[in-house]
């Protein structure tokens, strides 16, 4: 970035830029801050005259909501019902993890195969572009349009309200973006490396496994993260295909208000728990996400 265009020369202009950035920063972060502080409040802090903002200054933090979350009553409380968000014996939490991991592994495996095939071979009968378009076109359909036939399909094959149904549907929904990202990264791996290995008597599978995949690890990580976050957050399909045993965290959480009154601190703690994986990704893997976004939009 050597060009003077990117340097900010005058002071007023610099101040203007920071005002824009800081205003948006406050807007972007405030809801998360609000949820965090809310999860440490209890009735007096919430139902007061004015909203309270600062812990220790405006209100005295308590661990109540977090105790509820792990199913413990806090002193003086009447019979306590465990918060349903994590499910009985953490069932929803386990479901969410299994679905997100299972589906992402499946999608990435398919994505690697398709991506490798499409970058290294020429398919004469179908044409590579047609296959790419076919995979990409899966993105167009609104989930609600897919939900209804899937509902009947899985009812027939008796997979309704079971985890494999979610894993399969999410795999289909993520296939376009995952294949796209993996393919882009495979294009950048020089073919000469594999060809040398092939001459040395390596099989194709081995070349893929030993040379291409290790070199494209960042790309595969990007694809995996996108897929994982999508599965973790998905709501509509999970809502329509599960009723009881296969519920995931968002579905468990959506049933919250109907069971109990608006206990804001509990709701806040629950929402924060669902946000943990995305938060971890943002802190530790933000480079990958930014790279993936740039790839998806800029390289057409």
């Amino acid at each position: 970035m050597a060009s003077p265009y990117f340097k900010v020369q005058t002071m007023p202009r610099k101040i203007g830029i920071y005002i824009v950035l800081i205003l948006w920063f406050i807007f972007a972060i405030f809801p998360i801050y609000w949820a965090i502080t809310m999860s440490f409040k209890d009735a007096p802090a919430v139902y007061g005259k004015k909203p309270t903002y600062l812990p220790f200054v405006d209100f005295k933090p308590t661990k109540k909501a977090w105790m509820h979350l792990v199913g413990k009553a806090v002193g003086g409380e009447a019979e306590f019902i465990q918060m349903p968000v994590l499910g009985e014996k953490l069932r929803y939490l386990r479901n969410s993890i299994v679905v997100a991991l299972g589906s992402s592994v499946l999608t990435v495996a398919f994505g690697i195969m398709a991506g490798y095939g499409l970058t290294r071979y020429e398919y004469k009968r179908w044409k590579n572009d047609d296959i790419s378009f076919f995979i990409l076109s899966q993105r167009m359909f609104p989930p609600v349009a897919l939900a209804m036939p899937f509902f009947l399909l899985f009812t027939w094959v008796r997979l309704i309200d079971r985890l494999p149904s979610l894993i399969i549907v999410y795999a289909i929904m993520n296939m376009p973006i995952v294949t796209w990202i993996v393919k882009e990264f495979f294009t950048d791996v020089p073919k000469e490396l594999e060809e040398a290995a092939l001459v040395d008597g390596c099989t194709r599978w081995k070349a893929l496994y030993r040379i291409v995949i290790p070199m494209a690890v960042p790309g595969i990580a990007v694809a995996f993260l996108f897929s994982f976050i999508f599965c973790w957050n998905e709501f509509l399909i999970a809502l329509t295909l599960t009723f009881k045993t296969a519920k995931t965290l968002p579905v468990g959480m959506a049933g919250l208000t109907t069971l109990r009154g608006p206990l804001y601190w509990d709701i806040a703690a629950n929402s924060l728990v669902i946000m943990v994986p995305p938060l971890i990704v943002t802190v530790f893997a933000n480079k990958y996400i930014i790279r993936g976004l740039a790839l998806g939009a800029v390289k057409q």
């Binding site: 060009s3 003077p4 990117f6 340097k7 900010v8 830029i17 920071y18 950035l21 948006w24 920063f25 807007f27 972007a28 972060i29 809801p31 139902y47 909203p51 398709a114 095939g117 071979y121 296959i131 995979i135 899966q138 167009m140 359909f141 609104p142 989930p143 609600v144 349009a145 897919l146 209804m148 036939p149 509902f151 795999a171 289909i172 194709r204 973790w232 957050n233 709501f235 809502l239 329509t240 968002p250 959480m253 959506a254 919250l256 709701i267 806040a268 629950n270 929402s271 669902i274 946000m275 995305p278 938060l279 943002t282 933000n286 930014i290 976004l293 740039a294 998806g296 939009a297 800029v298």
Partner: protein
């Protein structure tokens, strides 16, 4: 020998993927084509083929047209806001300033969070008596707003949540598009004495436009899919004031269990969106904004 193994490998890579998609996505798709021509309600004894009756019903369904119209208004407002804010912030972030990376990463956060959890948090923020939204307005002497139970304000609330969550996508992708532009151009422009505004008008924007158009198209597809925030925040209410098309389809399909009618509506939605895109892209090509 090698030739045969190669050939086998070639198809072993692609066939499973294609077959998986065919079985899992194409079958339901074809099946939904049949469903849209049928009536299927539990307790009526299976699927009944009725031809185009569903579509005739859609034509007379005022609630459908209301939902469709509302969806267009919602998406139009949303994209205008997100595009303007996204471009503004991307332009600012393009400069060399301290803390650039910090801002970029913190802006990314909302986009990755669960829409359900996010909706609950916003529900607390929009609370009439105890929410910070009304408290904030009171600083400016504005009377408290019934955020989620007024007809107009409920839509505005949904727009605010969506802008909060998805402007980051615009910021980051537009910024990526800006950063992909060759630097020499900017250098040359500065040497020629062009002002920053001129540079933005004459270089940054026109060159990044094809990418921006793609980003807008992607966002439009996703914006029409809005569901989670409506489900949690307003439930389509008050009345049908926030009943966007996707939500109405869900209600008809899964609450009233009118699967045939719901499927027919989702096909109409799909066709309308595709037609709109084709019109949009064609007119962009005509004015020369797109190759």
């Amino acid at each position: 020998m090698i030739g045969l193994a190669e050939k086998r490998m070639k198809y072993a890579l692609i066939v499973p993927v294609v077959v998986f998609i065919l079985v899992v996505a194409i079958f339901p798709l074809l099946f939904s084509l049949y469903m849209m021509l049928s009536i299927w309600q539990p307790g009526t004894g299976g699927i009944q083929f009725v031809g185009f009756a569903n579509f005739k019903a859609i034509g007379q369904d005022a609630r459908f047209w209301h939902a469709l119209w509302l969806s267009f208004v919602y998406v139009a407002i949303l994209l205008t806001l997100e595009l303007c804010l996204g471009t503004l912030i991307a332009t600012v972030l393009q400069k060399e300033i301290g803390g650039k990376n910090f801002f970029r990463v913190s802006y990314m956060l909302p986009m990755l969070l669960s829409p359900v959890a996010v909706s609950y948090i916003w529900k607390m923020i929009f609370d009439y008596n105890r929410g910070p939204a009304n408290h904030f307005l009171s600083f400016f002497g504005i009377q408290p707003v019934e955020w989620l139970s007024g007809e107009i304000s409920a839509i505005i609330s949904l727009v605010i949540v969506d802008v909060w969550q998805w402007t980051p996508f615009m910021i980051l992708t537009i910024l990526a598009a800006f950063e992909a532009l060759p630097e020499e151009l900017f250098e040359a422009a500065v040497v020629d004495g062009a002002s920053p505004v001129k540079i933005f008008q004459k270089i940054t924007l026109p060159l990044a436009l094809p990418v921006i158009v793609t980003i807008v198209l992607l966002r439009t597809i996703d914006a029409f899919k809005v569901f989670d925030t409506i489900y949690i925040l307003t439930g389509g209410g008050p009345g049908t004031a926030t009943e966007l098309l996707n939500f109405y389809i869900y209600l008809r399909g899964f609450r009233a269990f009118d699967l045939g009618y719901g499927t027919a509506m989702s096909w109409v939605q799909l066709i309308v969106i595709i037609a709109m895109f084709m019109f949009f892209i064609r007119s962009l090509k005509r004015i020369g904004a797109l190759r």
